[in-house]
């Protein structure tokens, strides 16, 4: 009975949202209090209904209601509670429920901005968001009903794919979807501007926090996915340029470009059309990502069983959501008049503009690499795959100038009003980078790319530090207390600096992992010692241990450095009897300078075990860097909120 309520709630929301869209269409020109209040209230009702419906689904998973198809397919009574809950979105139907829940949540949040956003724009934003909601609700109701019942009640469920029973992956989809769906808000802002024909600096200012929050969530979501792949798959790598990874990375690149172009628009009131186009593309790429993951058209190392007919439906949604706005874009953009008075080649806006161009080009290379195999297959039936080598040859050289400019852009000022005094900073920056590069050359002169990559990291890191110190010096401020430092930073664009520093930290990690790692396979038995440099691993024992819903074969290694015991590593192989599958749990010892990563392969007492050993220098900096990027985003949102409040108080 309870699941039926969930289903009925979904149907009601579907009907209500269609009525809401119709209401909006008939009142598109109106901007009175009554119209806007009807739209806001119905948005709230949609959100509450979907929340309840989703809650019912989660509840069905918690109580293991195996009369539901998706519960019996993806859950089991013996599964730990957290994975029963995360199992809700660990499957196709449930993940779509999460999608619409986040979508209606974002729509609800925007609708509360009645006092900041002009009524005409707000009603359009709600209208567009509700159309997207309608499309996805019909997708769920017609092709992927999560509340479908089984005729015969099974005794127990099939369990969740053991690889998904993991805390990193329990959080990965919600954050990723938060990012994907968050981009729908800027999409609706853009389409709203096209419909109302009105755009101004305030529009950009209202839109920017939404992009920032989506971007931050996307950053963390992607990083979590990469981290999960690193420790769970036991391949030692963190990024494989796999279609599914690219699917989330393309919207990220576009969102990064958008984040900067909307800032230019906010300050200088130029690049209106470009910003609108990016807003539309950002969400289109999110939908494309959903399509790639859900359709199963592309071979992916992370692929799960999927259904092509559902892919077609998403393709239709993608067509409507991209085609419609682009037609509107083509007909309406001539309406917008930019501020064309001043333009200086050496200014912040031109640096940001060039980076925008590079970022979108980079996104295009990823898109081509991802979709080219599909085209070739359709064109002449040749099946191909495109691996990391392609991306190293295209994506990396395009991103190098982005990093170069990223360090300099914060030095520059907007427009042409102030002369740019950047010579001193540039000299400082170049000298330090040169010395750093020289140092890298001394460590390993053979690899040119490691020197380039490492130097770029040093360049960016130094750029951030130089900019901050020069700013502090220029203000003659005595930053001797925590409060003074805090006040100082809250006045300046601290968020930008944190995020840029995140990119630098990330690059340091990439340099270490890509160019200085060691990996090898070895066959060893209990009692043997593996020596690598000043480190040695002693193979102590292998034992069979029981887990909550699996059996584990656990090996124990003692890690010594300079003959001193550092720690004990326990790589495992787990066997899940319910799912009848086995997973490898790598043992990872992480510290600031790098990871020791051990994988236990097949073997037995007679022949020994095959063991894979990795030393990955600086690899945790990769995810740390992503963390800093997201933190930078959050800080900049808080800053703009705070400055707005101050502005209000001042008035």
């Amino acid at each position: 009975m309870i699941p039926e309520i969930g289903h009925i709630l979904l149907i009601l929301t579907f009907v209500a949202s269609i009525l809401q869209v119709l209401f909006w269409c008939f009142n598109i020109k109106k901007s009175d209090d009554i119209t806007i209040n009807v739209l806001i209230k119905s948005t709230f009702i949609n959100f509450v209904f979907i929340l309840f419906s989703f809650g019912i689904l989660v509840y069905s998973f918690i109580i293991s209601d195996f009369s539901l198809v998706i519960v019996s397919d993806n859950s089991h009574t013996l599964k730990p509670l957290i994975y029963k809950i995360s199992g809700t979105w660990g499957n196709h139907e449930g993940s779509l429920m999460l999608w619409i829940l986040i979508l209606s949540f974002f729509t609800f949040l925007v609708s509360r901005k009645k006092h900041q956003i002009p009524y005409k724009l707000l009603s359009s934003i709600i209208g567009i968001q509700t159309i997207i909601l309608c499309l996805f609700l019909s997708f769920i109701l017609f092709t992927s009903n999560p509340f479908e019942r089984l005729n015969v009640l099974p005794i127990d469920g099939n369990g969740l794919n053991p690889l998904l029973q993991d805390p990193g992956l329990a959080l990965h989809p919600p954050l990723l979807y938060f990012g994907y769906v968050g981009l729908s808000v800027s999409f609706s802002f853009a389409v709203g501007a096209l419909i109302t024909g009105e755009i101004n600096k305030e529009w950009a200012r209202q839109m920017r926090p939404w992009i920032t929050i989506a971007w931050s969530a996307l950053t963390i979501g992607i990083a979590l996915g990469s981290w999960w792949a690193y420790y769970e798959l036991g391949w030692g790598g963190w990024w494989f340029w796999d279609p599914v990874e690219n699917a989330s990375f393309m919207p990220w690149l576009i969102a990064t470009a958008l984040l900067h172009s909307v800032r230019i628009l906010e300050v200088r009131f130029i690049l209106i059309n470009w910003t609108i186009l990016l807003s539309i593309l950002g969400f289109s790429f999110s939908l494309l990502g959903t399509f790639i993951v859900r359709s199963g058209l592309l071979t992916s190392v992370h692929a799960f069983a999927s259904d092509p007919s559902r892919g077609l439906f998403i393709l239709i949604i993608l067509g409507i959501a991209t085609g419609g706005p682009l037609i509107l874009y083509a007909t309406k953009t001539s309406l917008f008049k930019e501020d064309k008075s001043q333009f200086n080649i050496i200014s912040k806006e031109s640096a940001l503009l060039i980076n925008n161009l590079f970022l979108t080009t980079a996104a295009a290379t990823v898109l081509i690499g991802t979709l080219y195999p599909l085209f070739l297959d359709a064109f002449n039936g040749n099946k191909i795959s495109i691996g990391p080598a392609y991306y190293n040859a295209t994506f990396a050289p395009i991103m190098a100038p982005v990093i170069l400019l990223m360090a300099i852009a914060p030095f520059l000022s907007w427009g042409i009003k102030k002369p740019n005094k950047i010579a001193k900073k540039l000299i400082f920056l170049s000298v330090i980078t040169f010395l750093g590069g020289l140092g890298l050359f001394m460590i390993d002169e053979s690899s040119l790319f490691s020197i380039i990559c490492g130097s770029l990291a040093i360049w960016l890191l130094t750029g951030v530090i130089v900019d901050l110190t020069f700013q502090i010096k220029a203000t003659n401020l005595r930053l001797n207390s925590f409060k003074a430092i805090f006040l100082y930073f809250s006045k300046n664009n601290l968020g930008v600096h944190i995020a840029h520093m995140g990119v630098a930290v990330f690059l340091v990690g990439v340099t270490g992992e890509q160019f200085y790692k060691t990996e090898f396979n070895i066959k060893k038995n209990v009692g043997d010692i593996i020596n690598v440099g000043n480190k040695s691993l002693i193979f102590d024992k292998v034992e069979t241990l029981p887990g909550p819903n699996y059996k584990s074969e656990t090996a124990t290694f003692t890690l010594l450095k300079n003959k001193k015991i550092i720690d004990v590593l326990k790589p495992e192989k787990r066997f899940y009897p319910i799912e009848k599958s086995q997973t490898t749990e790598a043992a990872i010892l992480s510290d600031f300078w790098g990871d020791t990563y051990l994988v236990l392969g097949d073997g037995n007492k007679e022949t020994g075990w095959s063991i894979r050993v990795y030393f990955n220098p600086l690899i945790s900096w990769i995810w740390g860097g992503a963390g800093f990027m997201a933190l930078g985003g959050l800080v900049s949102i808080l800053q703009s909120r705070k400055s707005r409040k101050k502005l209000k108080n001042a008035i």
Partner: protein, 147 residues
Amino acid sequence: MNPKYRRLIIIVFITLTLGLATKLILMALEENIIYFFTPNEIKVKYGNKQDIQKKIRVGGLVLENSVIKKDGTTKFNITDRSHQIEVLFDGPLPDLFREGQGIVVEGMFQNNKLIASQVLAKHDENYMPPEVADALIKNGVWQGEKK
């Protein structure tokens, strides 16, 4: 600066970037494409496997009773139920590697054996790589749901 001049600079810059990017992409595509074959296609196209000097991907099922593990090296046959190829791999196998499972092997031929650099099996035991599924359908041995 006058708007016309500004627009010109922007257009020239965009053209240059896109031109450069296109050049890079085309070069990279030419060099880094890895072709996918089924064992049967290899037999038909290249009777002698030595003729394939490039890294390729081969998809199929792990032939039953063909897996031999010795000293960390795994030897097995990959089949599309009409032809089979011997594969050698000296790395840790993916967890879902087992006999009868659909997999994709990446590597180069040496002495008529495929020396694998990577063995890909998916995260999901019911999952079949689309290329492998197509090949099985072609040979009429597809047992899963109709595509």
